[in-house]
């Protein structure tokens, strides 16, 4: 039984020994390389690799991906090839991304960009310190109550926060103090001291936080985006940040990626721009390997696979 493994992770060859011990034959390639053969039953690769190469792999039955967002999947191909089970990486990113989200919030609240500016001038000053705010006791809106949202909620609870989750029907989810349906987005914006977007991009979430919603936010609100662009209106956000109508924002994902050099986002006031890598941690790489091992073992033993994706559902 052969695995085609695309090595996105700069893993050493010995990371793949475990699959050989399970009884697989493993070919390891780099993301730019085509498949060296066409008889792979298992693929460890992402949506773009599947889109480019999977139609040539006639024996393919199981693909293990690692991304949590599925808006780039070759849905038509998957529907036409129901014999291929595609599994997602949902559950891998929660820990790393939620850490970055909390870090982004704290940096805005504690005005890190301001004090880093002082440092560069070797200026020892408390000027602006009393405008710093605390996470403790905040009302937090978490858009999306999946793995990433839940990990955010768990951490926010340690800061004595009241955490409100937003999901399609407002169903109650563990670790959230309350949940609201997406139709209540305006009320959420009005109530919250900070908002963290962890939603997938679907037709229903597109521009969920438009200008009208952002204008309902508190002047001291902090906005964080760690899932996908297209959900929060970037133009409106930049206008409001530059006008001092929000405390700040920390983003990892954008409408257009890479963010073009001429974009106004780079120089927007109190805006932290991270180049869509906040979930890519050394710890994640270790968890990926564990995840590959788990499902490879399930597959070879004929057990049900974890995290099977239904094509067209969007998440």
């Amino acid at each position: 039984m052969k695995i085609l493994a695309v090595n996105y992770f700069a893993w050493p060859p010995e990371n793949y020994d475990v699959f050989v011990k399970m009884g697989y034959e493993v070919d390891v390639v780099l993301p730019g390389d085509p498949p060296p053969a066409d008889d792979y039953e298992v693929g460890f690769f992402e949506a773009s690799y599947m889109t480019t190469h999977a139609d040539k792999l006639k024996k393919l039955r199981f693909v293990q991906m690692q991304t949590a967002g599925h808006n780039h999947l070759p849905v038509e191909f998957m529907k036409a090839n129901p014999q291929i089970q595609v599994c997602g990486g949902s559950g891998s990113y929660g820990k790393s991304i939620s850490e970055w989200a909390i870090g982004g919030v704290l940096q805005i609240l504690r005005r890190t960009p301001l004090f880093e500016g002082y440092r560069l001038e070797k200026k020892w000053s408390w000027e602006g310190s009393y405008d710093a705010r605390e996470l403790w006791g905040s009302v937090c809106g978490v858009l999306g109550t999946g793995d990433i949202g839940t990990e955010c909620a768990k951490k926010l609870a340690a800061f004595n926060c009241h955490v409100i989750g937003l999901n399609t029907d407002g169903r109650k989810v563990a670790h959230f103090d309350e949940c609201l349906p997406t139709s209540e987005i305006d009320a959420l914006c009005e109530r919250c001291d900070l908002l963290i977007n962890t939603l997938p991009l679907t037709p229903k979430t597109k521009m969920l936080m438009g200008r009208a919603q952002l204008e309902k936010c508190k002047k001291t609100a902090v906005i964080v985006n760690v899932s996908r662009g297209g959900i929060i209106d970037e133009e409106a956000l930049a206008d409001m940040l530059n006008a001092g109508l929000l405390m700040g924002a920390a983003f990892d994902c954008y409408d257009v990626e890479p963010v073009p050099p001429e974009s106004r986002l780079w120089d927007t006031k109190n805006f932290i721009l991270n180049p869509h890598c906040c979930g890519v941690t050394m710890g994640l790489s270790r968890r990926y390997l564990e995840h590959y091992i788990e499902n490879a073992e399930n597959y070879i033993k004929g057990r049900p696979l974890a995290g099977v994706i239904t094509p067209g559902r969007g998440y």
Binding site: Y8, F9, A10, W11, K95, S96, E99, W100, I102, G103, L106, Q107, L109, R110, T112, P113, F115, E116, Y118, R119, K122, W124, S125, W126, S129, Y130, D131, A132, R133, E134, L135, W136, K154, K155, A157, A158, F159, E257, P258, V259, P261, E262, S263, W266, I272, L273, N274, P275, H276, C277, C278, V280, T281, M282, G283, L284, S285
Partner: protein, 323 residues
């Protein structure tokens, strides 16, 4: 009426000042640097101040029965003289643990998520993702790290409970007696510090500065911290031999040094700590947010009310320990 001398009246709102008077205080407000005459000073039964006694000597206050620091420290106060005269001294208690613990979490995440590197790229409009392909690796996580908190007081406890949510591998605490504290996985006595240092990914100093803890982190102890370790100081600069630390940092002996406090403050312009890439510093303001005056005034008000009624006050200074 209780004669009260108050400095830092700006901590209170006008309403709160009225409230104090209504409790039965005959209150005067002066600058913390006021130079009072012996005649003026002898009137007061209670003083609420910080650095005042450096400007008006304590012996001028011949009728003093209580001194209250408007800070959480008492370094600027004549602790030994007050002890000798048997005058109780009080200080703000547990007022800064939340902002300081949040500051530590913030700075740890800045280091682990390479916030400074990303900010430089942002300023230059350069989109460069960190990934596993980088020779020095991708971003790091708090998840799974071992943390040693030196000083298991209010700040250490608040920090431990926040760190818990990040699923760190272990939170060990160091305190005087090795008594167990709920927020920690385990606590050890101070004399076990040297055994603990090499085990920790992150070492956070929160213990008070006393004669016994001056240069607690000398060259020898600093060398016990792992080369890939992170050292955080949120207490007092003099707990670390800064010269030895700079040498260690220059030699690449530490992944990150994070500090809000320094041996000399303001930090001299010629200090290399300003510009070192793996050093994150702030100007001794980790305890300040907009909540500071709100929390402090509420605490002081409560203690003034207790004193007026002859009830016990919170935050008494233990003269044997010196803090």
């Amino acid at each position: 009426m209780i004669k009260l001398l108050l400095t830092d009246a700006h901590l209170f709102t006008g309403e709160q000042l009225e409230e104090i008077r209504a409790m039965g205080y005959d209150m005067d407000t002066v600058s913390d640097r006021a130079q009072l005459s012996p005649d003026a000073a002898q009137k007061y039964e209670a003083v609420m101040a910080y650095g005042l006694f450096k400007h008006t000597p304590l012996p001028y206050f011949t009728n003093l029965k209580m001194v209250h620091s408007v800070a959480t420290g008492v370094e600027a106060m004549p602790v030994a003289e007050l002890a000798a005269r048997g005058i109780p001294l009080y200080k703000g208690k547990d007022l800064y643990s939340i902002p300081m613990a949040e500051w530590v979490i913030c700075k740890l995440l800045e280091a682990l998520k390479r916030a400074r590197e990303m900010a430089c790229l942002q300023q230059a409009h350069i989109w460069r993702k960190r990934s596993w392909a980088f020779t020095d690796g991708a971003l790091e996580e708090l998840y799974g790290k071992s943390v040693l908190i030196v000083g298991a007081g209010d700040i250490g406890r608040a920090l431990a409970s926040m760190l818990r949510a990040f699923e760190v591998a272990e939170i060990a605490g160091v305190n005087t007696t090795g008594r167990q504290v709920a927020e920690f996985d385990r606590c050890v006595r101070f004399d076990a510090l040297d055994c603990e240092l090499p085990k920790a990914d992150i070492v956070v100093i929160t213990c008070p500065l006393t004669e016994a803890t001056y240069h607690l982190f000398d060259a020898k102890r600093l060398d016990l911290i792992r080369e890939d370790g992170i050292l955080v100081n949120v207490s007092r600069g003099k707990l670390i031999d800064e010269g030895a630390l700079v040498e260690k940092l220059t030699a690449g002996g530490l992944a990150w040094f994070i500090s809000d406090v320094f041996e000399t403050e303001p930090l001299p312009k010629e200090s290399p700590l300003w510009e070192m890439e793996n050093v994150l510093i702030t100007p001794h303001n980790s305890f300040i947010t907009y909540m500071r005056p709100i929390r402090m005034s509420a605490f002081l008000l409560k203690n003034l009310a207790a004193y007026a009624k002859g009830e016990p006050l919170e935050g008494p200074v233990d003269y044997q320990k010196g803090y």
